[in-house]
Amino acid sequence: MNNGWLRANTLHHSAFRDLGRLVAEKERLGLTVSLCIPTLNEQATIGKEVVVFRSELQQRYPLLDEIAVIDSGSTDKTLEVAAGFGADTYLASDILPQMGPKRGKGENLWKAIYQLRGDIIVYIDADIKNIHPRFVYGLVAPLVYRPEVKYVKAFYDRPLASSGGVRPTGGGRVTEILVRPLFSLFFPELSQIIQPLSGEYAVRREVLEVIPFPIGYGVETSHLLDVYTRWGMDAFAQTDLDQRIHFNQPTLNLGRMAFTILQTFLSRAESLGTIAELPDLNRVLRQFQAHDDEYETVEFELTDEERPPMIEVPEYRRMRSSSDVTQPG
């Protein structure tokens, strides 16, 4: 594998800082862009995200046509705060209610395809402490400037100090221990995605509406596999957004995340014929806790349910029948 894709499709947000030019190109192409922020109890950070994006990317430079918060049922003031600062707010359960409720970040991302209007949807997590407009324009710009790119993924690589020579870079713990080894074994080209699990990406609607959505931790992995197998590596780009400050997850949470991602991966690999005849997989993850000298097992039944491609949902097809809806392939 040569480094051709890595060189051509790995970008840095600073290349797109001329927002006037970016907006002019977006308008010339007649594109619309929607921002979706999926939330669950994010009142501490959501206000800042909305203020920063609204003022910089709507009021000053109209890159975003809408800013939407899609919430999984927060028990804090997430929706109230977001609405107070000017975001459109939705409860995921109120969107396509006839499809029944499911709870998970992927559910919110999937329902955004139905609810939001943009030709491009950019997803930004709500827990970013050092939010900056680059998180949006760094991901949207490659889609505006390069028609062949369909899916732009964020990565974060800003060392505190560098001698200018070779240094290691990559993703978080689950990426380096689980996802990159899996990709390297079965889909080597995909291992060039530096942070496959990052929660920030911008995607063309024509792609989003034809891929299925796991509703839990597996959504990013399944996206990469589905887009790759359908359009190849050239559909991807990745943008370095420098530094992302957020709350780190404890290791046990990462174990549950890895368990779900592994299920999604195996299921996709089987359906693609990469792995044949998997046995019925156990869906229970066992972790442990101790009370004084006693150890006990804590069991988690973890199954990543999946939503179908949005294009297969009749309500969506009806809603968009007057516009250019991609036919399911």
Binding site: G47, K48, V51, V52, S55, V81, K129
Partner: protein, 389 residues
């Protein structure tokens, strides 16, 4: 175009309403600048950010000077006069602290917001505010994010600019985050210094009274406190920080005491400097140590009279905004203007809680009033209502 000072006052409610609509832009600028650590002598990233903003807002002559200040000019219609608006870009916050900012309804929190990220955010937002209000000044508006204001910086950035610019600066306006209603138009005399106390390596620990550097520093403090200070002119000695010794149970061989002498009289400041130097030297001589009094910043007293039209108009504007004027002397940027005998004011922009703590919080709603105050002041200065003819 305004036709009287009363006309400016009459427009304040409408100004405040328009400024409030720009809250998001100001808050975003505040978030972005506040999250850039900017210790004194390490302001370069903030300077670059301010310059980027000035360029985006199409100011002219966007540049840095040799003092490291970020400068931009919003040209006036006639350009016959120059108003310099300054916000210092350095903060008293350790650069290793978490600088992320949080916003919740009505409040913004984070380190260094009041001193002086809000001033910097207001500075860069000012061109948009004036444009949003449809105000075009006759005077050139020179905007400067200054460096090296605090501590050992000793107003280095502003002093450099005022000492070296070719522009004739007619009036100065210094923006500070807090507090709304604060009004400074005069500078008190001030001397900021550090007493360094050290015992030599060959110190004889068996000599009578040997107690280590901290004990000696304690003696120095006690002796300074015995100096009789006059009630008029108002005078004070403020001990700012003390540190000394090290870990473990060793007798400390070094200590440092930072202090400030403040007085309405420059002669008294000079006299206190001499006395403190003598005390430190005397205590050190008796204890067998070495002491020096290093002066790291100095201000001379001066400024405008209470009745000068500039502070008078400023008070009128605060009154019209339903704000009591909190008049206090300043030892900040204003002093650099005082040294050059340039009329200047220092104003605050909002209210705050937990000042100088990691949980520092600013109130968002009053910021629009604070900015409105600045706009009205600029118009009043521009139209000549603040000149002492």
């Amino acid at each position: 175009m305004v036709d009287s000072f009363a006309d400016i006052l009459a427009r304040l409610p409408a100004y405040a309403e328009t400024v409030r609509r720009l809250d998001d832009i100001l808050l975003t600028n505040l978030v972005m600048v506040a999250e850039i650590p900017s210790p004194t002598f390490g302001e370069h990233q903030r300077v670059q950010w301010v310059l980027d903003r000035f360029n985006e807002y199409r100011l002219e002559h966007c540049s840095t000077d040799e003092g490291g200040n970020a400068l931009g000019i919003l040209p006036g219609r006639t350009g016959e006069r120059n108003i310099l608006v300054v916000a210092h870009l350095d903060t008293p916050v350790d650069e290793n602290l978490d600088h992320t900012v949080a916003i919740e309804p009505g409040l913004i929190s984070g380190v260094g917001l009041a001193d002086n990220s809000l001033g910097a955010a207001a500075l860069v937002t000012l061109p948009l505010v004036l444009s949003g209000l449809g105000i075009e000044l006759d005077s050139n508006l020179v905007l400067m994010g200054s460096t090296r204001a605090l501590g050992r910086g000793d107003l280095g950035g502003t002093r450099f600019f005022l000492n070296n610019t070719d522009l004739q600066v007619d009036t100065g306006l210094c923006l500070e985050g807090v507090r709304l209603g604060r009004l400074s138009y005069a500078s008190i005399g001030m001397l900021r210094g550090v007493i360094h106390y050290r015992l030599p390596d060959e110190y004889d620990w068996t000599r009578f009274g040997a107690g280590g550097a901290i004990v000696s520093m304690n003696d120095i403090i006690s002796r300074i406190l015995e100096i009789p200070l006059p009630r008029r002119p108002r005078t004070a000695v403020v001990f700012s920080s003390i540190e000394g010794g090290g870990p473990g149970s060793k007798v400390p061989t070094h200590a440092e005491l930072q202090l400030e002498v403040r007085s309405d009289s420059g002669d008294i400041v000079n006299d206190l400097q001499r006395r403190i130097t003598n005390i430190a030297t005397e205590v050190a001589a008796f204890a067998g140590g070495e002491a020096t009094f290093e002066v790291i910043a100095r201000r001379r007293p001066g400024g405008l009279e209470f009745s000068h039209p500039l502070p008078e108009r400023a008070r009128d504007i605060l009154t019209a905004l339903d704000l009591p004027a909190r008049i206090s002397p300043s030892t900040a940027e204003l002093s650099a203007f005082v040294d050059r005998e340039i009329p200047a004011l220092r104003v605050g922009l909002t209210s705050a809680e937990y000042l100088d703590e990691e949980r520092e919080q600013l109130q968002i709603a009053p910021i629009a009033i604070g900015i409105t105050q600045v706009v009205a002041l600029l118009q009043a200065i521009d139209q000549g209502y603040c000149r002492d003819e």
